[in-house]
């Protein structure tokens, strides 16, 4: 096959494999009982949020602890605006009249969630992205704290410390699949675009990228805003899945969980984000259920104490960083090229030709700068 044709085929695999996995998970979920199905919907929504994290963290190499703020904004804006006006007046009497008097349907609320997430992200990115990598990562925590505090207390825009309830539960397994597919396509298009490539170049070598004219701050800002939009969309899907949500559900725990998904899967590739999100989400759902008691193949029952799921995930994540820092997928995109690579390897053994280079953008991509 010609070089260009091969490249297109590879690019197609990069997107097709994650999409295929999403479809498989959705199809399995659709065939299960209603209660188990929720776990699969959760997995697909987690994938949406993790794609959001991946767009920024994976492409820039900067860790952010703040993306769940945009999920929270998405969840609460979509939730508050879709509750019918009649019960809204009773459950949230302090609401601004504009919010109290309007009610929209699910689809526009999801668009709104994504738009607000992106807008908020772009806004906070101005002070944050001027910082260097690690400092920016830590500072994103302040966004999470502000969002949590405001949503938890301000009764003009939401339920305050109470749960946001009576949100129409319109997201089933197929709708969640659509959301996740959309997020995957956005992440794919971005990472193959000029903008995405510039940011990836800056990730590999900030000094060299700057020297050839890459404006790192601007590229990071763009990625941060796209990331915020996808995280916001994930929040919108989440609130329409659950129907009832509290601010604590979109705070530290979810930040940890989604970061664990990205890191365990491999933050360097779309494939890694997909595998990590789906696998860890399903594992987490199972562990959470096991904190109540689950039956394993009706052979024996397992009951885990409260907190055990976080401990197990924390240990898996730390162990992954110790032994395989590029994640389950090794940071590589899915590729059938391993077949041709294997062929090339065999030929190289017999003819002595050099083997082809595998491509693997690692997590360990932040170039270690020497302290002065």
């Amino acid at each position: 096959m010609s070089g260009a044709g091969m490249r297109h085929l590879r690019a197609l695999q990069t997107l097709a494999a994650p999409l295929a996995l999403l479809v498989i998970v959705a199809a399995i979920g659709a065939g299960t009982t209603a209660s188990t199905q929720q776990d699969f919907i959760t997995a697909l929504i987690s994938a949406t949020i993790v794609y959001g994290l991946y767009v920024f963290i994976g492409n820039s190499g900067v860790i952010s602890f703040g993306q769940i703020s945009f999920t929270a904004v998405g969840a609460f804006s979509a939730g508050v605006l879709t509750i019918p006006t009649q019960p809204k007046r009773l459950t949230m009497p302090g609401l601004w009249s504009f919010l109290a008097q309007h009610s929209i349907s699910t689809f526009p609320s999801l668009v709104l969630a994504a738009a607000l997430g992106a807008l908020f992200a772009a806004l906070v990115a101005f002070p944050l992205m001027r910082l260097s990598g690690i400092a920016a990562g830590i500072a994103t925590f302040s966004v999470l704290e502000i969002t949590y505090n405001v949503l938890d207390q301000w009764t003009k825009i939401g339920p305050g410390p109470n749960a946001l309830a009576l949100v129409p539960t319109t997201i089933g397994v197929w709708q969640a699949l659509l959301g996740a597919v959309f997020a995957a396509v956005v992440a794919f298009v971005y990472q193959r675009s000029r903008r995405g490539r510039l940011l990836r170049a800056a990730r590999e070598d900030p000094a060299a990228a700057r020297a050839v004219g890459v404006r790192i701050t601007r590229e990071r800002l763009i990625a941060f805003a796209i990331s915020g939009g996808l995280a916001g969309l994930g929040g919108g899907l989440l609130v329409h899945q659950l129907g009832t949500i509290t601010v604590d559900q979109v705070y530290l725990e979810l930040t940890f969980l989604t970061l664990a998904m990205l890191v365990i899967g491999g933050s360097g590739s779309l494939w890694g984000a997909t595998v990590g999100a789906l696998a860890i989400s399903l594992l987490d759902s199972w562990l959470a259920a096991a904190e109540n008691t689950v039956h394993v193949f009706s052979l024996f029952t397992v009951t885990l104490p409260t907190g055990a799921s976080d401990l197990i995930l924390g240990v898996i994540m730390a162990a992954m960083l110790l032994f395989r820092p590029q994640g389950l997928t090794g940071g590589a995109e899915f590729s059938l090229a391993f077949l041709s690579r294997a062929g090339a390897w065999i030929r190289s053994r017999t003819r002595g030709a050099p083997p082809t280079e595998p491509e693997a953008p690692p997590l360990d991509h932040v170039r270690q700068t020497e302290p002065h």
Partner: protein
């Protein structure tokens, strides 16, 4: 509202956050590691005070110090030493994972109900009252802040190991090349952060007697962001930044109007963000932002 009172309380809380930041900045200096799990040392110390609440006070305090120091030492050995040489982004996520795993351990061991850990509850009384109220724990925080900040400064400036630590923080690779025992220096940085954590656990429980599993994380997040705002790449700028964050926390609590008090956290972090916007190189850092990417 007495202005002097507000300032004194602010300095006391600032001193506490400054102690946390010393540990963070020492570890960051030698390893380029931002240690989220430092907060879990504070939690461990506070829980040890709860567990030993029936022992004599001296024993209880000694155990608290022992627990914090041993845990800091083990944390470095088990979790962070194998990651030596990994990128700051990797170690940052690893320390976050360690922090979360330990939080889950606290939840498993002690449940979600807060446990009383105020071994030094006697300090929660007024030493001076009148126009100016001064509690003993405020005095203790001020004293501990002065003694430990001064002690650290002396250790770094006047001792051999302090000199080595400064050298390692300045240029780790060269320091190793000229024969500095880097493992000893790194262990010392963690042990010192353990000592600071024990002091913070002892004093912070006086105001917040109920220890929950996020006890330490809540403290470390504010101290860490304060340190970043101040400039985490140098000890004194990081410490000053965390001090400023603690000071601001305390001042906001008395300066905000009643209707805004519930948004204290939001205002605090908004202030910190604004500080970052104005001085991205650190509030106390150089005037001109560096061109070369540094952590």
């Amino acid at each position: 509202m007495n202005v002097l009172q507000t300032i004194i309380d602010g300095i006391a809380l600032g001193a506490l956050y400054a102690l946390v930041a010393i540990g963070l900045a020492l570890v960051f200096g030698v390893l380029r590691l931002i240690n989220f799990a430092q907060g879990e040392l504070i939690s461990a110390g506070a829980y040890s005070l709860y567990v030993t609440r029936n022992l004599p006070l001296g024993a209880s305090i000694a155990i608290c110090f022992a627990v914090c120091i041993v845990m800091a030492f083990l944390m470095e050995r088990i979790a962070f030493r194998p990651l030596r040489g990994a990128s700051p982004a990797t170690t940052l996520v690893a320390s976050f994972a360690v922090a979360f795993a330990l939080e889950a351990v606290w939840l498993l061991a002690f449940g979600s109900q807060g446990k009383p850990g105020d071994a030094l509850y006697r300090l929660n009384t007024l030493a001076v009252h009148g126009s100016l109220d001064l509690r003993w724990d405020t005095i203790a925080e001020l004293g501990a802040g002065v003694v430990l900040l001064g002690g650290t400064a002396l250790l770094l400036a006047r001792t051999d190991i302090g000199l080595q630590m400064r050298a390692a923080a300045h240029d780790f690779r060269t320091a190793r090349l000229i024969g500095i025992r880097t493992n000893a220096v790194i262990s010392l940085a963690f042990v010192l952060s353990g000592v600071m954590a024990a002091v913070v656990a002892l004093l912070y429980t006086v105001q917040q007697p109920l220890v929950t599993n996020t006890f330490g994380l809540d403290i470390v997040i504010i101290a860490l962001i304060g340190a970043v705002v101040g400039g985490i790449d140098r000890l004194w700028t990081a410490t000053a930044g965390a001090f400023a964050a603690g000071f601001a926390t305390s001042v906001l609590a008395s300066a905000l109007p009643a209707g805004q008090l519930q948004f204290q956290t939001a205002w605090l972090f908004l202030l910190l963000l604004i500080a970052l916007l104005i001085r991205p190189a650190g509030l106390f850092g150089p005037l001109r932002a560096r061109q070369v990417e540094r952590v």
